[in-house]
Symmetry: C2
Subunit: 925 residues, 2 copies
């Protein structure tokens, strides 16, 4: 192939053709089906062939470029390549012909992911690229071309990871129309109200055409656009027509324009694309000789970004986020905030388990992965969590069989971790007795506790400070003795098993009651409780229910021209249907340990209201399903909390579980909203909390998973819990969201909301630790009988509990001799009188059992030394609306100071071995 | 990629994987749309990419093989390749990694093509391959995997072209079942009853699976079969299952089996195929270490054929043909024998024009292609005829827009030839006066003859002897003088224009009558007639019609579960509907020149019966259409000739216009037929003739195009003339065969049948020359006024007329100094008392104006010296049923003897220039 000399030309309009493929890490097919090109009857897509083909085509002309995004796929492919192919690919990367963009394990969802898992999946991908290609493999640009709305916390994370810019494809159609008109498609996003400038500033560009090529220029095998027919001897010569059509493209702010030449799973036969783009470049640029001022070139997002930067313009500033996303007046993509609630919970729990697994791998050393219980690892779980963050995974927008595949991967990941955890606890405790994990405690099933007369329970605490959690164990006795490691009795009580739990567990367990008590475990460590039966008789059954008017659960019915589906929320009416104005109520128990009230709104909606000893929050355990559809109506079940709080139109939702954004009904901060959907258009994602407040009170709800929420009325806060729908919503998934349960009925979902009512200025002090305790659950494991004599019953990995403001976000083995640690200031600026202050931690004095020999600070993604980070600078032309925050400095090399919302990432050297050479070995002192 | 050492193993079952693509030279898309990959919404197919991809993949592993078949596509691709790519491809060809198979311009249809055009299109493709790649590019195997039934004449042609064997995919389902059972899928086809053994013997194999891969092993991008998933770390590892499934393949006669790994337009992304086949070979052959006796290898049909030959077995003998083709009990592919009758006629006329164009290029030298009328060429027409022979072209089984494209190509080809012919006639006649061709004489439209008072008509005769044809010129006078070159008056008559012609021509012409007279022109030459008007008054109109009972035209109505369509004939009932038992009759004229009777059976079916002065044959000119469909019934119009001949169940049809085969109702010579379609199952293709006979009489019908025909009753012969249908027949074309006419009604077709009634032993003497005169029509051109004084009014290219048995099949410029000539013995053995004898022609004394310096005999395809032909030998184990025919020898080097049905091909050197070196220059004396 012939290629002209391709480069930008400052005196012309430069059209950057960006050849790319968008490879969903699961959607209509599983990630492995996509990789292999299996089940092509569902969707033609085979990533192995895409990479084969692109590498082949790149070699045929040095002018050609390609970007690759999803490391989960690239990793699979790389594993199977010969040394020769690897050498070729490395050269292509070194020459910038193949460039990694984004580079996370997947392209994460932004509405339903937790920042902890997002940072992990990005790290997993970036680590692979760094280890495989070094600096030339480091992505410079974040690239979220498909996610359905964009979270500010994601932008903040990308900025802290060192990305120079961020491009995405989807934003509200009204917002896009305005930005096109005012040339504000490219901007600077200031993604944190707490972090020191410009730590969270991220140049952000909206792509002109989603992530697709301009109309008529799609030359993939999956497209039907006319190829360039340039043989004058054959019929239908069309070069002139194509060139003319191309020159009609719209203009942006600079004399550069980006064109995404690719789409979903394209480039499986890259020749089609490159052959026609070669011709396009040739014939369009040939017109320059006749005076044309258009210059077309192969490019990449980072090349394009660099040109924008060189243009030295001022850019508009953006400080809110891009939720909710609507692609038309009645098409708000706010349903997926709640879609597949069970998968959303399982993903969140899996994150907790992975953190525990990572920590124990570090704390107990090499025996954790190869010990008395066999070979275990954390990698399987890391990769499973990596794919689960994908924007068609935890989002709930995949096909049913793909949702099962994600869950199966998480289960397999945990199975590998279980071995690691068993080995690790054996090392730390000195006891190799068998250890049982109970997966189904949420439906009160645990064969050991149901049958054992005496057993011990190990409680591992993944948090950096002691936290108290209530536990509920299925039992068949009516009275138990619970003692801690000091032999001290712990208050406990057996409460009868609720009717809804009996319904849900079916015949998998036979417990008649739940033994309820509070547990505490030392920071980053475990303790042990000994439980023995005292009264081996069934617990008293619950008192008879009484009907009363009470808290209301509601349901949106969904049928209309644009139906609700996996993505879209489109209720029939602005007023939800009340499921039942009265609820049957059972006051289960009132004791010092726990007070419980069960409410039945219908045979398929119930709720337990609990107040635990020593806890100020109210727990609402909701059980919804199987959602009936015999009436021909899909249903979207919400719980609405109506209060006297004078919240007016305002409410607050978190972004990926971290910083909180103010929301206002029927309003967007950056454009004059024409509201077309009074309910769906006011829904926002919540990942761990939402609140409403007035001067005196703040009602905060902490959730156990991501959900959709809104405040439609003054003083009211509603959360969508579950959805079951009868129609596909025409966004590609091709299935109605109707999750099967067991026995062919619908899925039953259960979850918990924690409610706290505080003065507004005290709220963060309560909800921040409460949410961390919800995100990182204690890991319970059981051993039958009495622990052996020499068993170490208690352990802590820390010298001291971390300061209240500090959260141990990451503790993970990096390589043989080093570990990755992330410390996080978990308070926003100004949200807590006591905690929104800089706080200092001494890295050398952190751990009780690990000797830290050195520490090097890294970017948030751990693929660059912090001191090497050198991001592009952008000018907004406006002063910061708030005074520039000055970050507190570190007092000494070992003492690191965290400012509000800051996350700092370190590689700690635990022993000085040769494997440290992976990156330059720089000791802090 | 890794590939084991791949070769056959005599102690194992060798599975020959034959990677191939089947690229229709037009079908659902035009040939150029297929080449470019345009209109992929109709069908995903882009041949340019197939060749790109295959060449790329072949380079990646020397074990990989590919065959390519259709030279029309390869030629397009080759033209656009760089020198470097051409060098690589040449090396792949030289190493046998890319092998050309079949190699004609297209894969011709076998039922509706004429041998003259088939030989031409094969020659065109083979010539390109020979010039481009030399001996290594010579195809050894004929490969007709898709045509819908197989003609014996095709097999004979392939044998004479030097092919070692022939493979095809489709045969009658009953035949296939029997052959599978008896292991007779491979055989020796003795394809001529006249030619000396083994001239027309062709080893023939039926492919086990059509031309598709075994079920479950289709790895093209267009297939959905599971890829081989061999990464044990990923989900759904399936190597063991795939290998096991592969080993269950059926066996053939030898320990070799061929598997066609490809299908329609496959290998656009060849990586998918090769990557998975690499794995298949690797994992299946790996089992040999565990005792498996299966050996898989990349192969080609010629490699496979060679192994069969080495097996040294005896093979069953086949002497009839493979018509008709049925793929199920009610699915006889006998409709396409007649589909698109107008295209079929236009293709046949175009052959005649091309031969004329070729001849004149030779006879008048270089000025023919660059002369007073501009640049002309015969290549465009050759290529247009080349694609028109495709099995979805002249067959009538393409989509409507593709049929238009074929016709347009022929028209463009003729436009190029017209310039050549104008130049040529200017050279030969010495007159550069403008010359007009009248394309629409069949509907009596010719502006010059309609208006001119005096004009001359040049009649070019492409045959090797003088033949007399009737001509009919549209005129407006009632009396004309017609004189020949000697000034001698020629009998002529003006007959009134028939009503049906008036209907059909609509407002394109305004002639009121047709001037009818007989013309004769010298062999391979022209003469000139001068026509002047004598009475400038309108011809008398026809007498009033009278009703009478007469010859019946009939129609089959077509509606049923398997409907009739472009391919399939499935009448509603065994009895056709009689269109009208009485016909309106007009006795137009009874004179010495012509006697005409017009019959009207309905407003859309009429027929003119003519008997010309000096001709013994009866001409039936039929006009059918627009076929009405308002009654919701598709219709297939037949004409049935009922006679007293005691033909019993027997009738006779030609094969591609040459040898005649005996047919018998409800009977197949090679298996015990279970007849399931009493009409459609007895239809056979006729290309130029059909007959019935008894001891005394033979009724022979000579046709102007290919049609379907049968004899359902004793003494009856029926021919299908036209078809218009309402449904698609589910064989892929996706359109009902309902050809539009003008003004949104259906197409009107018109044609001629020539009937002769003779004693059987005299019949060939009549129908052979009659058919040649029908195939090679005189070319008429007109000049207004009186010819200029020095105009040479008559010319012959031959020294003498050829002997009656000899037909000049080909006379075509080959390169600057040489011409290709084919002489054909046009009688079968024993069919003519006088002509079925060897006949000798002196090559040096053939031409009147060309000096022949040398002659080298070649294979029929002209891509090999005759003396180098060395075909594989095959043993049938049976004696020939007829005594072995001994061919007469040539008396001297210049004198060549033709035996019955023999075609001999020579390259004649006309001047000894350097271009002769193309092939070795071997003079005969």
């Amino acid at each position: 192939p012939h290629n002209p000399d391709i480069s930008t030309n400052t005196s012309m309009l430069n059209v950057h053709l960006v050849p790319h493929t968008h490879d969903d890490v699961g959607w209509l097919k599983t990630v492995d089906q996509y990789y292999y090109g299996d089940r092509n009857n569902i969707q033609h897509a085979g990533v192995q062939y895409i990479l084969d083909s692109v590498i082949d085509q790149l070699q045929q002309d040095p002018a050609r470029r390609f970007i690759y995004v999803e490391t989960a796929f690239f990793y699979r492919w790389w594993k199977q390549q010969s040394q020769n192919t690897r050498r070729i690919v490395t050269q292509l990367v070194n020459e910038g012909r193949l460039e990694f963009i984004n580079g996370g394990w997947c392209m994460s969802d932004e509405a339903t992911t937790h920042y902890s898992a997002v940072i992990d999946q990005m790290t997993l991908g970036l680590q692979f690229l760094n280890e495989t290609f070094g600096e030339c493999g480091r992505p410079r640009v974040a690239w979220h071309i498909d996610p359905f709305g964009h979270a500010r916390e994601h932008a903040s994370i990308f900025a802290q990871m060192g990305y120079d810019g961020f491009f995405f494809g989807r934003l509200d159609y009204q917002d896009k129309a305005r930005r096109m008109k005012t040339k504000e498609m490219e901007m600077l996003w200031r993604a944190s109200e707490s972090l020191t400038l410009p730590l969270a500033d991220l140049f952000t560009g909206v792509l002109p055409n989603g992530y697709n090529p301009p109309e008529g220029f799609c030359w993939d095998q999956s497209c039907n656009d006319a190829p360039i027919r340039d043989d004058p001897d054959l019929e239908d010569y069309n070069v002139d027509e194509i060139v003319q059509r191309f020159l009609n493209a719209a203009f942006y702010k600079t004399n550069h324009i980006i064109m995404t030449m690719g789409s979903d799973f394209q480039y499986e036969n890259a020749n089609l694309w490159y052959k026609n783009m070669d011709k396009l470049i040739k014939y369009v640029n040939a017109l320059q000789a006749k005076g044309s001022k258009v210059n077309v070139l192969y490019s990449t997002p980072s090349c394009y970004l660099q040109e924008l930067n060189l243009a030295n313009l001022t850019w508009p500033l953006k400080t809110d986020d891009f939720f909710p996303y609507a692609d038309d007046a009645h098409d708000f993509w706010t349903g997926y905030f709640t879609s597949r609630p069970a998968l959303k919970l399982y993903e969140r729990l899996s994150n907790s388990r992975l953190q525990t697994c990572n920590q124990l791998e570090v704390l107990s050393g090499p025996k954790s992965t190869s010990g008395p219980f066999g070979e275990g690892d954390s990698d399987t779980m890391k990769r499973a969590m990596g794919v689960a963050q994908h924007h068609d995974a935890v989002s709930g927008t995949e096909k049913q069989h793909v949702a099962y595949d994600y869950a199966r991967r998480l289960a397999t990941g945990w199975a590998h971790c279980e071995v690691l955890v068993r080995n690790s606890l054996a090392v730390l405790s000195g006891s190799e007795s068998p250890r049982v994990f109970c997966e189904n405690l949420n439906i009160s099933v645990c064969p050991l506790t149901e049958s054992s007369q005496k057993f011990s329970m190990n409680v591992y605490n993944p948090l950096g400070r002691t936290v108290s959690w209530p536990v509920r164990l299925p039992v068949n006795g009516s009275l138990y003795s619970v003692t801690d490691t000091n032999g001290k009795a712990v208050n406990s009580q057996v409460v009868p098993l609720s009717k809804s739990t009996q319904q849900v567990r079916r015949n998998r367990g036979y417990a008649k009651g739940e033994l309820v008590f509070q547990v505490e475990a030392p920071p980053l460590g475990y303790t042990t409780y000994i439980i023995s039966i005292l009264k081996d008789e069934p617990p008293a059954s619950s008192p008879k229910p009484t009907a009363t008017r009470s808290i209301q659960n509601k349901v949106h019915a969904a049928e209309s021209r644009q139906p609700s589906g996996a993505y879209i929320f489109r209720p029939n009416s602005s007023d939800p249907f009340v499921i039942n104005k009265t609820a049957e109520i059972q006051i289960v128990t009132v004791s010092s340990t726990v007070q419980e009230v069960t409410q039945w709104f219908s045979p398929w909606v119930s709720q337990v209201v609990r107040l635990y000893e020593g806890h100020s929050e109210l727990e609402l355990e909701w059980t919804v399903g199987p959602v009936p559809i015999a009436d021909g109506l899909g249903k979207e079940v919400i719980t609405r909390l109506d209060t006297d709080i004078e919240s007016s139109d305002y409410f607050y939702t978190d972004s990926n579980g971290r910083e909180v954004l103010e929301r206002r009904k029927d309003y967007r901060p950056t454009w004059d909203l024409k509201q077309t959907e009074p309910i769906a258009g006011n829904y926002y994602p919540i990942n761990s909390r939402a609140y409403i407040k007035d001067d005196k009170h703040q009602l905060t709800v902490v959730t156990d998973r991501s959900q959709g929420a809104s405040s439609i009325y003054n003083g009211s806060l509603e959360i969508m819990l579950h959805r079951r729908l009868l129609y596909d919503d025409f966004r590609g998934v091709g299935e109605p969201l109707s999750e099967p349960g067991e026995f062919f009925d619908g899925l039953v979902a259960r979850g918990r909301l924690l409610l706290t009512l505080t003065p507004p200025n005290m709220a963060a002090d309560v909800h921040r630790p409460l949410a961390q305790g919800m995100v990182l659950q204690p890991l319970l494991s059981f051993q039958d009988g009495t622990p052996l004599a020499n068993t170490k019953l208690e352990f802590t990995g820390l010298q001291d509990a971390l300061p209240p403001a500090v959260h141990l976000l990451t503790l993970s083995q990096w390589d043989k001799d080093s570990v990755l640690i992330r410390l996080e200031h978990q308070y926003q600026a100004e949200e807590s009188k006591t905690h929104s202050q800089p706080v200092t931690v001494n890295l050398q004095k952190l751990f009780s059992t690990l000797e830290v020999l050195g520490a090097s600070e890294m970017s948030l993604g751990a693929n660059q030394w912090k001191e090497d980070m050198n991001r592009l600078q952008w000018n907004t032309g406006t002063k910061a609306s708030k005074p520039l925050l000055l970050s507190a400095k570190d007092p000494s090399p070992w003492e690191v100071t965290l400012n509000p919302m800051e996350i700092r990432t370190f590689l700690l050297q635990l022993a000085c071995g040769f494997s440290w050479k992976r990156v330059r070995c720089r000791f802090r002192d």
